[in-house]
Point group: D2
Chain length 323, copies 4
C-alpha cells in the first residue's frame, strides 16, 4: 500500500529568480487545509523555519492531527538564509558550521516532538561555484563529520540526505546517488541514508531505477522519495509523469524489488499553476503508472531476464497500450 | 494515410567505433528481401555507393519493383570515405569540394533514374573539431553555394538537408532546424528543404513539434522525416518510441497541423538486435501513437488553446491511459 | 576601441529561487555611483520599471550624464511581473499582448528620451513549460508581428532580441541564435537584430564564434553583446572568463572579422560576491583576452586557413602561454 | 617528477561508426617505434589481443625494452568482440562471464610476464541500452564478485577500473567516480581502484579535482590517469588542453595534494590528425599547465582557503596571464 504525501510549501507561492510573486502566499495553516483537499495524501513534509519553529510546534502538531496527516519529514532550511551562502555544515567558517549544527539540533528536537521519523537534509548551499574556490578535502570531511555527529545524537531519527547536482551552487557536494552513498558509508551510522528526488536524479543523468538498486546494495540506504519531473537538463520541478512515463513505471518495479516501504512524497514548484491541481495530477500519474506496473510485474521480470531489446520494446508498448 | 519506409543499411551490420562487427553484413539484395518482410513498409532509402552505384542502378530498380518498394530517397555517402574527413561541399580544399559535387551529380542522376524525388543530404563531415580550426564564414558560404548550385541543376529533385549537432565532427555546420532553415533560405531555391531525424533533434535539445512549426513558417520546408529514439545526450539510434512517448504523439499532431505529407522513414542502428524486429518495433510504436493522437485530436486542440498545465497533464494521461 | 558597459541591476541584490536576499539592494542611484567606480565602463544598461520609469527619466538621465555614462540600452521588464507569466507579446490572451505592447511603447519612448539607441528585448516568459501547452504556430506568429509592429513605430531604435534556451519557462520561443535570426528575417525590418548573451549561447550548446558568423551572414544582425560565463548546462551568470578561456579569444577574433562595433556589456548575477569586484573581473578578463588575440591575429588567420588540428593546438598554447 | 605514457593503439587508425579508415593502421611494432619519437614518454599501455597476446609477449617485451619503455598497463579487450555485446563479467549469460574471466586471467598472466603492475579494466559493454533490459541487481553483483575474484587471484597486480557514463552502451554500470568507488569498496580488496579518464569524467559532468578527492577519501583509490579532452557532452577524445585549461591546472594541484604518484597517460582518438603530433601536443599542454601550477602552488592554497570568488577569478588570471 503506497503512502502519498506532499511538501507543504509547494502549495504556496513558488518563485524563480526573475519573478518573486507568481501568486499569493497563504499561511502554513491555510496551505495545510488546501492539502487536506488533495485526494490520497496522508502525510506532510514541513520545511523548518518556514512552516515549523519552536514557537508553533504545538499548533502545527494539532493542525496535522485534525487533518489526519502524519508528519512525514522535517526539512531544515539550510538554503534560504544568507548566513548559509557559502555552505552550512561544510562551510569554511567554523562559526557558521556551529550555527548550522545548533539549528539542526533544534529541528531534530522538533521532529521528535512531531513524532516524525525522517529529517530530510538538503544542504543546498554546501558546494562551490568557481574552480579554486572549494577545499574539497576539508569541506567534504566536515560534511561527513557533522552528519555523523547529528546521527549519533538523535539515534531515533533517520537522516535522509537529498542529493542534487547543482543549484543554488554551481556544484553541490552531495550531487548524485553514489557520492551520497559514500557520505553515508563514511559516517558509519545506520540511521543515515538517502532521499531520491526524481527530478534531481534525472538532472544528474541517472537512471533512477539503477540508483534505487545502488542504495539497496549499499545496505538499504533509500530512506525517502520526492517526486517531480523535468526535461533532464534542469530541476524544472514539474508534475511527475508529465514528461517521463516508462521511467516511472520501471522505478516502481525496482522500488518494490528493493523492498522500499517509505513515503511517495510530491515535491514540485507549480509556479503558474493551481497548486492543489498540480500536486493531485502527480498522484494521479503515479497511481496510473502503479496500476500498469502491478499488472505487468511477471511480464517485466521475465523480459528483464531475457534482456532482448526487441522484446523489451514490445513489453513497454504492452504496458502503455495493452498490446 | 501514413507512408512508412526504412533505410536499407539499417538491416545490415551497424558498428560503433569499438566493435566493427556485431553481426554479419548481408548484401543489399538480401537486406531488401528482409525489408520486404517488415509489415507496413512501402518505401526504401538507399545510401549512395553502399547500396547504389552507376553499376547496379538497374538491378536495384528492378529489385525494388519486385518488392513493390518505392525508392524514397538517395542518401549520398559524404561521410564514410577518408576523402571527406575535413568536409565535402564545404571543405577548405577546392579539389575536395569539386570531387564532392561530381559525386553528388552522379547520385542525383541515379535518383532520377530510380524515379526517386528526394536526395537526403547529410554532410556529416562538414564542420569542425577544434576551436580556431573552422573558417566559419567561408566554409558556410561554400556549403550554401554548392547546395544552391545542385538544386539549380536538378530542379525535379527535392534536396532534404539533414541536420545533426555533432558526430562524426565535434561540431556540424548544419546542427539544428533553425540554422538549416537559414541555409535553405540563403540558397534561394524552392527545392531545398530539411530532413528531421528525430534523434538528431532530441540530441540538439529541440522540441520536435516546434521544429516542425519552424519549417512550416519558413515556407513548408519540411521535406522528410527519419525516426529513431535516444536519451537526448547522443544519437543512440534506438527503436522509436522506446524512450519518448508523449513527444511522438505531439509530433504527429503538429505534422498534420503543418500539412506534412511525406514519408515516415525508420533510421536506426540496431547494433545488438535483430534488425527487422527492431525496425518493425518502431513502426508498431508510431502506429500506436498515431491511433492515440487521431482519436484525441479535438481534445488536443482544445487543451493547447487553454494552455492550462493542469489540464494539459490530465490530457496527456487521458491520451496514454484513457482516463 | 572596445566600449565596455554593465547592466545596472547586477550591482544590487541578485537572488535565486531559494534565497531572496543574499545582500542589501541599494537604490538605482547608489548602484550608478558604484558602477562609476569600475574601471573601464563607459555605458550602462537600464532595466525598465526597476531602474527607469516615466517618473524618473529626467533624474536618471542627469545621473548618467554626471558620471559620463552613455545609456547603452533599455531592457523592458517582460519577465518579473505575474501578468507576463504565460508570455507577453506572444501570450495567448490578446489583452496581455496589448498590455505588453503598451508597456513596450512607453519604454521605447523612454529610450529615445535617454538618447539610447538599443532596446534589448528579452521576452523571458514567452515560451511554454509542458508538451501540448504551447500553440507554437500562432504564438510564434504573434511574436513576429508584434516585434515588427514596434520596429516600424520606432525606426530610430534598434531592437536587439536576446535569446535563451530556457528559464524562467522550460522552453523559450527565442532559444538560439538561428531561430532568433529567423524571427528577425520574418519581421522584414532592418532595425531588428540579435543580442548574444555569451552564457545563454554556451547553455544552448553554441560555439559563440559561429553564432557571430551566422548573424553576419543573415545581414549584420548582431546588435549587442552581453558577457558572462557558465559551465554550459545552465545560465550560471558568472564572471566572464572564469570558466572558458579560448572560447572568448576566438570570439573576439570573429567579432572583429564580422565588423562588430557595438558594446561589450557585462551581465552577471554575482549572488555571493562583491558586485563591483565581480564586474571589474569580467572586464579584466576580456581585456587580457583581447591583448592576446590582437597580438596573435595574423597567426590565428593563418592557422584557421590551414585547419590542421595539431597546429591549432600549438597556436592555442602559444596564445595562452607564449610558446 | 611526472611520468608520461600513451596507449599504443592511439598511434594507429582510430575509426568512428561512419568511417572505418581515416588512415592506415601500422603494426604494433611500427606504432611502438612512432611512440619512441614522442618527447617525454617513458611508458606504454597495451590493449589486450590487439597489441599483446600469449603468442607475442616475448617479442613485445623485448621491443619495449629496446625503446626503454615501461609497460604501464594492460587493457584487456572487453569491448571490441561481438561475444561481449551484452556485457562481459556482468553478462546475463554465465558462459560469457566464464569466458570473460578466462580471458582476463590470461591477460593478468601476461601483465605479470611484462612486469606490468596495472590491469586497466574498462568493461565498456557492461551496462544496458533500454529500460527494462538490465537486471541491475544481479548484474552489478556479478561485476563486483568477478572483480573481487580476479583481484584475489592476482594480488601482485593493481586493478584500475575505468568508468565512463555511456558508449558503446547507452548506460555503463561503472559510470562515474563515486559508483566505481562503491564497486571498489564492495570487492573488499585493497588492489582494486579507479582509473580517471579525464574525458569520461568531463562527459559525466564531474569536476575532476573533486573526483580525485573522492578517491583519496575512499582510501587512496586513484590508481591511474588517462588524459584527453572534450566539450563535456561526449567522449571526443581530443588533445588534452585543447578545450579546457583551468580545469587541468586545478587537477594537477589536487593530484599532488592527494599524493597521486602514478602515470599520466595519453588516451586520444586523433582520427584525422597526425597521431604522434597529437599525442605530443597533449604532453606539451600538460607540461605547460604543470609549470603554471607549480609556480602558483602557495597562491592557490591561500586562495582556496579564502574561498572568495573575486579573488579566485584574479588568481586564475594570474596563473594564465601572469597578472
Amino acid at each position: 500500500m503506497r503512502k502519498y504525501s506532499a511538501i507543504l510549501g509547494n502549495l504556496g507561492n513558488t518563485c524563480d529568480r526573475f519573478c518573486s510573486r507568481y501568486k499569493d502566499n497563504p499561511s502554513s495553516i491555510e496551505m495545510l487545509k488546501q492539502a487536506g483537499k488533495i485526494d490520497g495524501i496522508s502525510g506532510i513534509e514541513l520545511v523548518g523555519t518556514w512552516d515549523i519553529r519552536p514557537d508553533n510546534v504545538k499548533k502545527m502538531k494539532s493542525a496535522l492531527n485534525d487533518l489526519n496527516f502524519e508528519c512525514v519529514s522535517i526539512i531544515p532550511d539550510l538554503f534560504s538564509e544568507a548566513i548559509w551562502r557559502f555552505g552550512s555544515i561544510s562551510a569554511k567558517d567554523p562559526s557558521v558550521r556551529q550555527e548550522a549544527m545548533g539549528y539542526l539540533r533544534t529541528m531534530c528536537g522538533i521532529a521528535e516532538e512531531m513524532d516524525c521519523r525522517i529529517v530530510n537534509l538538503w544542504p543546498g548551499q554546501d558546494g562551490f561555484d568557481y574552480l579554486f574556490q572549494g577545499n574539497y578535502l576539508d569541506e567534504r570531511n566536515w560534511l561527513v563529520e557533522n552528519v555523523a555527529q547529528l546521527a549519533g545524537e538523535f539515534p531515533y531519527l533517520k537522516f535522509a540526505l537529498e542529493y542534487k547536482p547543482k543549484e543554488p551552487r554551481t556544484h553541490s557536494y552531495m550531487a548524485r546517488m553514489a557520492d551520497t552513498l559514500l557520505v553515508c558509508l563514511q559516517t558509519g551510522m545506520d540511521n543515515v541514508g538517502v532521499t531520491i528526488d526524481t527530478g534531481h536524479a534525472f538532472m544528474a543523468g541517472e537512471n533512477v531505477s539503477e540508483s534505487i538498486v545502488l542504495a539497496r546494495q549499499a545496505g538499504d540506504k533509500l530512506f525517502h522519495m520526492h517526486f517531480n519531473d523535468n526535461y533532464k537538463s534542469w530541476d524544472d520541478d514539474m508534475i511527475a509523469g508529465s514528461v517521463h512515463s516508462l521511467e516511472y513505471i520501471e522505478m516502481l518495479y525496482w522500488l518494490d524489488k528493493c523492498a522500499y516501504d517509505g513515503w511517495f512524497s510530491m515535491d514540485q514548484y507549480p509556479y503558474r499553476e493551481d497548486a492543489t491541481g498540480a500536486i493531485a495530477e502527480s498522484i494521479n500519474w503515479l497511481k496510473a503508472f502503479d496500476n500498469k506496473m502491478c499488472s505487468s510485474r511477471e511480464d517485466i521480470a521475465q523480459t528483464i531476464n531475457d534482456g532482448d531489446a526487441v522484446k523489451t520494446s514490445a513489453l513497454m508498448r504492452r504496458i502503455l497500450f495493452g498490446k
